[in-house]
């Protein structure tokens, strides 16, 4: 039997990077932009934070506040630039979103591994990794401290970015559903022509939501390195979590609050293979890892078969908007 008290926190910390990614991508998709560059952006978010932190640690990392702020700001700047690049190409230049997104992912993963590799060379360590233990200490400090009661283990055993992820998702949900900005954003993603006719600036909404979405997604990369991986960067360690985040958007039918639970579920599915009873064929492990994708496909199929309008992708998803097009 699985020890739930031990399992759930592990599922949560697996899920947090996905939650950042899916909240960011949900905001982006709500504006009608299908940003397949998210995996790349998360890499850039991670490496930018790592670069900032690396040099600050080299300088001795004297100030605790700056030790946290520098990687945070670096990460956000890095992802913001990626978001801007995507917007410039797809919104201003109306390029194909799929192609731009895929190129952005190639580019972003390249940037991540390239600068990661360069830093590893600079660090001159024996193993091909960068260790940022000082920074990580702040990022992975938990409110529970060393408490081992079930409440602390379930709810208080995470770094501050994990709580931030949940708060951001809740805030995103509130903004989308209860504010005028959210209303306008949804209108832009559903029907840019109607939004335009109502005097809403389609371009501005697309830019802002996509860039904010990128920054949020980038934080997922930062969380992964600084908290989950305890400050250790190695090439390609982040894996395909970016794609999983995109799957999560579909799975949570474009609802950030649902995304919170769904991300924990995905996190759980991701590590479920660790908990299979000993003696089972190890190969089954790999099939367990398939589960998040299979359920996502099922959700995608079921929502399209049921054709309930609330659960469909934003109607203009993936299409560029050009006012004078007929």
């Amino acid at each position: 039997m699985i020890d739930l008290i031990a399992f759930i926190p592990r599922a949560v910390i697996q899920g947090i990077p996905l939650l950042f990614g899916s909240t960011g991508e949900t905001l982006t998709e709500k504006s009608g932009n299908l940003n397949l560059g998210i995996p790349g952006i998360m890499y850039v978010g991670a490496i930018s934070g790592v670069i900032g932190s690396f040099f600050y640690e080299q300088a001795g990392a004297p100030s605790p506040v700056l030790t946290v702020l520098i990687p945070l700001l670096c990460s956000m700047t890095g992802s913001l630039l990626m978001g801007l690049l995507y917007c410039f190409l797809t919104v201003t230049l109306r390029a194909n979103q799929n192609v731009t997104g895929l190129a952005l992912t190639t580019f972003g993963v390249g940037i991540g591994n390239f600068f990661g590799g360069s830093l590893i060379k600079l660090a001159n360590s024996a193993v091909p990794v960068i260790v940022l233990s000082k920074t990580s200490a702040y990022f992975s400090a938990t409110p529970a401290g060393g408490a081992t009661d079930w409440f602390s283990r379930l709810f208080l055993s995470y770094g501050f970015l994990a709580y931030a992820a949940v708060i951001i998702a809740l805030a995103a949900s509130y903004i989308l559903n209860h504010t005028r900005i959210g209303l306008h954003l949804r209108a832009v993603g559903e029907s840019p022509t109607t939004a335009d006719a109502a005097g809403i600036s389609v371009t501005r909404y697309k830019y802002v939501s996509t860039c904010i979405g990128s920054v949020i997604a980038g934080l997922g990369g930062l969380y992964y390195i600084m908290d989950y991986a305890k400050g250790i960067w190695s090439s390609d360690a982040f894996g395909d979590r970016g794609w999983l985040a995109i799957a999560l958007v579909i799975f949570s039918v474009w609802r950030p609050t649902l995304g919170i639970f769904a991300s924990f579920l995905f996190g759980g599915l991701y590590i479920l293979n660790v908990y299979i009873p000993t003696g089972t064929n190890l190969a089954i492990k790999e099939l367990y890892k398939m589960l998040p994708y299979v359920v996502t496909v099922l959700v995608l199929v079921v929502t399209s078969v049921r054709n309930k309008r609330e659960n469909q992708p934003p109607a203009s998803l993936g299409l560029p908007y050009f006012r004078e097009e007929r």
Partner: protein, 509 residues
């Protein structure tokens, strides 16, 4: 009623699109506390004129004053600020949002749906609308969507309302409801304009009527002082002598027999209601009617593109054997020799592929005939060249994408291709839409040649004068019903015009 100062004064408004003059020095006054019917045939410039008031178009020349002050209306927002709101034929609503959300869309300030809901309720109570602010648009009927559009305009404080053919999508009951609401608004001191071509609506609803014809302002008068006959005269003008050739029918035999055909569109609105007629070989059957009265649905039903609710469509061979067309797919019907060339409003989109060149478009009908897996490229190419030559299509080459041809030339390509199929039945709609005189005559000649070759030609036209001179028989549609079938020779324009606006064409007086 104090009608002294007009709410809107339009003077010498001129608007051209390319070489087409849509509005030519139009004068129009709109008063508060009055419902004005803007009457005119299709293409007479009613919508264009009102679009200039609502900020969609900008006039080339002329002045607009609101309450005596000269204004410039650059955008829909400018129009709103001046209290002008227009309800277009195509609704601008976001499907997945609720009525209330759509109504407040684009407005500044904090989002307070409760307050908005209260205000919406208040508007609804004041005029007798029924809107559930929480209902999603995709759950609504067309008339509910229209109501949301009207409330949206009122919510923004409009007191000059323009409705573009609002009843086109409504059932008679819904129309009555709408009219009651519009009267309420008039009594509340708002200025209401409805664009229409339906005579009975003008009579039932309006206080004043203004008539446009071919972009020109013909006149206006209180509705009470006029009658349907006079308005029809103003609308259609005097008969024009065109001298279109009309050879006698060649051995006419029944070819297509339509019986009790009823068709509903996707929204469940009846577009054809118990329509019966016969189209003969060697004859041109003209179909007259105001646009949107079921012409499109009729032709599409015959071609197998439209779902039919009830009735039958038989194809009759020379030997008298019959075959039912309903239930067959478009390809089968095509292969039986029924050919449809429908020129839609945007000209492309149906029947032609804009990004393909002329030769490739010729292939749309014939590509299945190539040998083996490959298409036959030579004969479409030849056909394209023939069409270009015979119909004088202006194009750099047959390798030019049709998208880049002018509208008239696109049409020639489409009609030319359909005729080249050597059909037994040729269905054609708006074949001369937007064509110059010479090209139009080329098309008429082609149709006559088809007729003389024994083809059953069904010709849906917009121009009554042409129908009267070209068709052997004219079927008049009115609101999806057959208003009458008259012989083309000797038919009077007035009579047919009346039949278009009123079933049977009889005035009540």
């Amino acid at each position: 009623m104090d009608n002294k100062t007009p709410a809107v004064k339009m003077r010498n408004i001129t608007k051209t699109f390319g070489s087409v003059v849509a509005n030519d020095k139009v004068w129009l006054d709109i008063y508060r506390g009055e419902i004005l019917a803007l009457l005119g045939e299709n293409g007479s410039g009613k919508t264009t004129l009102m679009n200039m008031l609502s900020g969609i178009y900008f006039p080339d020349k002329g002045d607009i004053s609101i309450d005596g002050k000269e204004v410039v209306i650059r955008s829909p927002k400018d129009a709103f600020d001046l209290g002008i709101g227009m309800i277009h034929q195509h609704f601008k609503l976001v499907d997945v949002l609720s009525a209330a959300e759509n109504i407040v869309l684009g407005l500044p300030g904090k989002l307070d749906l409760k307050a908005a809901t209260a205000k919406i309720r208040q508007i609804c109570d004041a005029y007798g609308f029924e809107v559930d602010p929480k209902q999603k648009i995709y759950d609504m009927s067309v008339s509910q969507k229209q109501t949301v559009e009207i409330v949206k305009v009122l919510y923004r404080g409009a007191d000059i309302l323009i409705l573009d053919e609002p009843t086109a999508v409504l059932t008679p009951q819904e129309t009555d409801k709408l009219f009651a609401v519009l009267r309420n608004m008039r009594d509340d001191g708002k200025a209401v304009v409805i664009i229409t071509h339906k005579m009975h609506e003008v009579e039932a609803l309006s206080d004043r009527v203004a008539v446009l014809r071919q972009g020109q302002f013909i006149g206006d008068m209180p509705t009470k002082t006029t009658n349907a006959q006079e308005m029809t005269n103003m609308m259609v003008g005097h008969p024009v002598v065109l001298n279109i050739d009309r050879p006698d029918p060649v051995d006419p035999r029944p070819r297509i027999e339509v019986k009790n055909l009823t068709v509903r569109n996707i929204d469940g609105i009846v577009k054809l209601d118990d329509v019966s007629f016969t189209a003969n070989s060697g004859e041109i059957l003209g179909i007259a009617g105001i646009s949107g009265c079921g012409q499109k649905e009729l032709l599409e039903a015959i071609a197998g593109l439209q779902r039919v609710e009830s009735g039958s469509i038989s194809y009759i061979e020379d030997d008298g054997s019959r075959e039912e067309l309903i239930g067959k797919d478009p390809l089968e019907i095509q292969q039986m020799g029924v050919s449809l060339s429908f020129v839609p409003e945007d000209r492309l989109g149906m029947g032609l592929v804009g990004n393909m060149d002329l030769a490739d478009n010729m292939m749309l009908r014939s590509f299945r005939r190539g040998r083996g897996i490959f298409t036959d490229r030579k004969s479409p190419h030849k056909l394209a060249e023939t069409v270009v030559h015979d119909l004088e299509v202006v194009t750099p080459s047959v390798e030019t994408p049709v998208r880049r041809l002018s509208g008239g030339n696109v049409q020639k390509v489409l009609v030319g291709r359909e005729i080249a199929e050597a059909p037994k039945v040729l269905l054609t709609a708006y074949a001369v839409r937007g064509l110059d005189i010479n090209s139009s005559y080329t098309i008429y000649d082609l149709l006559n040649k088809q007729k003389q070759a024994g083809v059953a030609v069904v010709y849906v036209g917009e121009d009554l004068d042409v129908l009267l001179e070209l068709a052997d028989r004219i079927l008049v549609l009115c609101g999806g019903k057959v208003s009458g079938i008259v012989p083309g020779r000797g038919a009077k324009k007035r009579d047919v015009g009346l039949m278009m606006t009123r079933l049977g064409g009889k005035t009540d007086e």
